[in-house]
Amino acid sequence: MNEPIISVDNIHKSYLMGKDAVPALRGVSLDIQQGDFVCLMGPSGSGKTTLLNIIGGLDEPSRGHIVIGGENLVALSEDELARLRLHQMGFIFQNYNLLANFTAFENVEAPMVLARVGRKERKERSTALLEKVGLGDRGHHYPSELSGGQQQRVAIARALANDPPILIGDEMTGDLDSETGFAIMRLIQELNEDGMTIVFVTHDPRMATFAGKVVNLRDGKLLNELPADEISQMEMVAHDS
């Protein structure tokens, strides 16, 4: 087997609430190979977002190591993390987070500007990316003029701007109706088929079926590391809902 592109090694994360430390992750280890399509699932508060943020270099673990593309994130400075995010990751958020004053085209272009890509190349790539997410004719529209699904497509195109190997998404279909959600997931699936590594969080088991691998979190731990009785208990909860 190859060297994993993302390697999470015994990560702990606690949040300080006043004087008390609230544990969000309690020793999570996980290897993700290049081209994997990983879905993080688990009940609310189980630590999915926390884990995803750490993988995305947005947050740092309290303890443990995370290595991405051979680089140990824990050792990186904030600016180096920013550079890593710029070139290695694409982000998709539940609420899209597009720049309101920028057109769809400019939103896609923005990360390239930050990465000092030349104007001509920016234009070509942004056009191609919008084409790819099916919005070739909507480039000059502002986010407020697009539907939720269209906005999320722009967000995807933007996430792909600097051709990152990894795509990270937190509840990216959470605000969309299921039909649109499926369309978005099919798009992501295509990207995965082109070789992109994808890690995403969802509550929706139907969306999880797109993933090649589902990782279950429970109380800050991976489910397969939990005692069996707790697992069955959790599954019952899942059936109820």
């Binding site: 958020f93 987070n97 597009l98 720049l99 004053n101 923005a110 000092r116 407020s144």
Partner: protein, 927 residues
């Protein structure tokens, strides 16, 4: 519960709260300080103004036709005291011109004999002691310097007794008058303020009783001066005070009868000044309105942001069952608390400013002008109250809309904020409108049109109430500034692009982001632009005028004086026979002025004689002021400023000798329709006195001679024309009378040049030394005047910078607030940018470029608007006065404005962004 909630909010949003309090505090403080200053100056005004004429209210002298020129003290003083209950004090005086001689110098000075107990004015002893022992005198410092005398030296004083004038006849000068000469020691050298008027520069003070016995005038005085109840002036209305004093004098006149002259210079000057004060007060009110307007906008924006941020919370409160009134009250109470704190601190600040900055500054300025006054600051309730009331009124108005918004919060915000928060359709529309806002432009045009109408039709002056007129006039100016600002708002867009183009050269990436945000967020953009723009217009307007003035000082001085040296004779009389006592003889040029070191060429000009003028056949006629020329004007005039419409400069040389030649103005030539070489007829003194002259030159402009000009309607009656001295004598003398002698005194003006290499300052003092003591000759040296004018300009410039600083103080707060709100409301975006991989300094940089682009473009627009206004005014001014004008660009205030704006933007941005940029992306996104 409301108060509790409000206080919690303050804690949560410290920066915003502090900003609101500070801006209120500063503006209230400034306004209180300014009003207090005006009030203070108004109260000291009585002292200040009367210093220039002597600080007594009325003086009573005998008429010069009266048989006894002296006032009988025993009879008149009690009558004066009893004439009106408002008269509190009466003192006898003897004030007269005397001839002084010491150290071989002789000069005229003013002798003031007064009682030692007299309280009028203030005397500062420079050296010696102020006593009148041994018949001693107190000599003015300038006089002591002129004579080179010191304490203990003795001076001869020659007093001439006045002779009564025969009624209907002029005083005969030169005939022998009874003279008394005494020799008195100098006991003190002093400076005076308000004992006599400022125009008395040379003088001495003596003891009234001693002078009385020296001159043998027991029981008699030259004049009686009266003081009225000082509280009369405290009332605040100078005009009213002046009128009351006049009442008093009418009563005095009724008591004393017709044999006396009464003077109420103080009341008169106060009366005149009252209008100036009204203008000042109106100016401050207008400024205050503007400052509070800016603060109001600022508070409105910040409170609005607060409300928007609290939407969800308020919605929850609504779900829990709170009334709309409660939400409304919450916002109002919040603003009221801020108002209380800000205004309270503002009043304190205002007092401190008045006491420690403004008053000392005024005192310093006064002492520079030779007035020693101690000013008592007057910060009274009457000063503070208007500021407080207007502050709260503005606060109320600016909080009304946000409070209403708050009370209208829908519960939906709590249930589905996604829907409620979504950008509304109108916002979208605004985003799309990328061209400059035409509506503003039109509103601006309408405002300016109104102003032009109001000022142009002169409606204001029909109101008849000076304070109302001043207020309306200033409001019109304010409206003009606003209108101009709105009109020029349109150019902020292209200017923004320009600024971004420039920043793009330095940092293309940061500019990429700034460009989009600047160009497309309309609402705040307009607000910040207007704030900065308005603040820039007035200083830039004044600075442009100042720059133009400065650039034209030289032209102005040259056009005004005509030659490097000018001597003007001020005659005491209007009748020619008497005036000739003061006029100069043509021989004065060579034998007197020519002998002064540093003076080279000289040309004399006769007084003006008004003659009738017409074309050869009397079809068109008018009148002309003839001046005879003695000497070659080409040798002394500033040649580069001379413009001949027809003929050339040689005419100025020829006019001395060509007896039937005349040089006239272009306007007059047009009016009479005579060409160069044409013939005109002059009608001189006496009957049937007609003579024909040939026009040898037509002048458009001649430096030093205002009344050569091209405006026909003005030239018709009263333009200047040159003829030879002989022709002048002929025309101004009745043919039945013998012609005057060639060397008879006729000159009332002399122009001259400075010899090459001579020091102008030496020449200036030589001239003043030679002629300063001879009354009625006034000397000026162009280069010295130029120097003085330039020094004055520097002071104006300093004043302008202070003014700019003040008017930008509020704007800076505005910039701060808007940037703060902008950054705060865009935190999600900032979080996103961070997540995507932009770094701290990149984010800060983007925001800085953004705010610089917005503020600098607005400042530039304001500067341009002000400059355009300045140029227009200057141009109109110069066209009407027919002066050439050098256009100049201000180089101090405008750069100062730009630098201030850039600094304010950078600091404002760094300060507002510092927290948000430090946060991690996920922290921001979770907010």
């Amino acid at each position: 519960m409301i108060l509790n909630y409000v206080l919690k909010n303050f804690k949560r949003r410290k920066v915003r709260t502090i900003l609101m309090v500070l801006s209120l505090m500063v503006s209230t403080g400034l306004i209180v300080a300014m009003s207090a200053t005006v009030e203070t100056v108004r109260r000291s005004n009585v002292d200040l103004l009367s210093s220039s004429i002597g600080r007594y209210d009325l003086s009573v002298t005998k008429k010069d036709t009266s048989a006894d020129p002296f006032v009988d003290i025993n009879r008149t003083a009690p009558a004066l005291t009893g004439a009106d209950p408002l008269i509190v004090d009466v003192f006898p005086r003897l004030v007269s011109d005397v001839d002084l001689s010491a150290n071989g110098e002789t000069a005229t000075a003013t002798m003031i004999a007064r009682k030692p107990e007299e309280t009028v004015g203030q005397i500062d002893v420079v050296s010696g002691t102020l006593s009148f022992e041994n018949n001693g005198m107190a000599l003015f410092e300038s006089t002591a310097e002129a004579f080179g005398v010191d304490i203990g030296d003795e001076i001869d004083v020659a007093y001439s007794f006045p002779r009564p004038r025969v009624e209907g006849e002029a005083t005969v000068v030169g005939i022998s008058q009874r003279q008394v000469v005494g020799r008195f020691p100098v006991n003190a050298i002093i400076r005076q303020t308000g004992v006599v008027g400022l125009q008395v520069s040379d003088g001495l003070i003596m003891d009234f009783d001693q002078v009385q016995s020296w001159l043998g005038l027991t029981g008699r005085a030259g004049s009686l001066i009266g003081l009225v109840e000082p509280e009369l002036y405290e009332a605040g209305n100078a005009e009213q005070a002046a009128l009351t004093v006049r009442e008093v004098v009418v009563n005095v006149q009724n008591t004393l009868g017709e044999d006396f002259n009464y003077s109420l210079d103080k009341a008169a000057i106060l009366d005149q000044s009252s209008e100036a004060f009204l203008v000042l007060q109106a100016l401050i009110n207008t400024y205050g309105l503007m400052a509070f307007g800016v603060v109001g906008l600022l508070i409105h924006t910040l409170v609005m942001t607060n409300v928007q941020e609290q939407r969800r919370e308020m919605a929850v409160l609504r779900i829990l069952g709170s009334q709309r009134n409660l939400l409304f009250a919450m916002v109002m109470v919040e603003v009221a608390v801020i108002g209380l704190i800000g205004v309270a601190f503002g009043i304190v600040l205002g007092q401190i400013l008045t006491q420690y900055a403004v008053i000392p500054f005024i005192e310093y300025q006064m002492s520079q002008a030779g007035l020693n006054v101690t000013i008592q600051p007057a910060v009274s309730l009457a000063v503070i109250l208007p500021a407080v009331i207007s502050a709260f009124a503005v606060l109320f108005v600016s909080a009304l809309k946000p409070a209403q918004d708050a009370s209208k919060t829908k519960v939906m915000y709590a249930i589905n904020p996604g829907v409620a928060d979504n950008i509304q359709l109108e916002d979208l529309e605004e985003l799309r409108v990328q061209r400059p806002n035409l509506r503003f432009f039109v509103i601006g045009l309408v405002m300016m049109f109104t102003v032009t109408l109001v000022l142009g039709l002169d409606i204001v002056s029909t109101l008849g109430n000076p304070s109302l007129e001043a207020t309306i006039f200033l409001l019109a100016i304010l409206l003009m500034v606003l209108g101009l600002g709105l009109v020029f708002l349109i150019i902020t867009r292209p200017l923004e692009r320009l600024v971004l183009l420039i920043t793009g050269l330095f940092s293309p990436r940061l500019t990429y982001f700034a460009r989009r945000n600047v160009g497309r967020s309309n609402k705040r953009n307009a607000l910040i632009s207007l704030l900065v723009l308005f603040s820039g217009v007035l200083p830039s307007f004044l600075a442009t005028q100042n720059a133009i003035d400065t650039a034209n000082i030289e032209t102005d001085v040259k056009l005004d004086m005509g030659a490097p040296i000018e001597l003007i004779v001020f005659t005491r009389f209007s009748e020619p026979e008497l005036a000739s006592l003061d006029w100069l003889q043509p021989s004065f040029l060579q034998s007197d002025l020519g002998q002064v070191e540093g003076v080279e060429r000289t040309v004399g000009l006769t007084h003006e004689y008004t003659a009738g003028i017409s074309d050869a056949v009397d079809m068109r006629s008018g009148s002309v002021d003839l001046q005879g020329v003695v000497g070659d004007l080409n040798e002394v005039l500033f040649g580069e400023m001379i413009i001949f419409t027809a003929g050339d400069e040689s005419a100025l040389t020829r006019i001395q000798t060509e007896d039937q030649a005349i040089i006239i103005s272009e306007g007059l030539a047009n009016h009479l329709a005579v060409p160069l070489g044409g013939t005109i007829k002059l009608r001189g003194e006496g009957l049937d006195h007609l003579e024909e002259f040939t026009v040898i030159g037509i002048v458009r402009r001649l430096p030093g001679f205002d009344n050569f000009g091209r405006i026909r309607s003005q030239a018709q009656n009263g333009s200047t024309a040159f003829v030879s001295l002989d022709a002048f004598h002929r025309m101004s003398t009745n043919p039945k009378v013998a012609l005057p002698d060639a060397n008879d005194p006729v000159l009332d003006r002399v122009l001259a040049t400075v010899s090459p290499g001579a020091d102008v300052n030496d020449v200036d003092s030589a001239l003043r030394g030679e002629y300063g003591f001879r009354n009625r000759i006034f000397t000026r040296v162009a280069e010295v005047r130029l120097q003085q004018a330039q020094d004055e300009r520097l002071q104006t410039q300093l004043f302008l910078i202070v003014l700019t600083l003040i008017s930008f103080t509020t704007a800076v707060f505005g910039v701060f607030a808007v940037i703060y709100v902008t950054i705060y409301s865009r935190r999600l975006e900032i979080g996103m940018m961070k997540a995507v991989g932009s770094r701290k300094w990149e984010l800060t940089g983007m925001l800085i470029v953004e705010s610089i682009a917005m503020t600098v473009s607005a400042a530039l627009a304001g500067v341009v608007a002000g400059a355009v206004m300045g140029y227009t005014f200057a141009y109109i001014n110069n066209v009407t006065s027919q002066r050439p004008m050098i256009f100049a660009v201000d180089t101090t205030v405008m750069p100062f404005v730009l630098i201030m704006v850039v600094i304010a933007s950078i600091i404002g941005t760094v300060f507002s962004a510092r927290r948000i940029v430090k946060y991690k992306a996920i922290e921001i996104l979770r907010m």
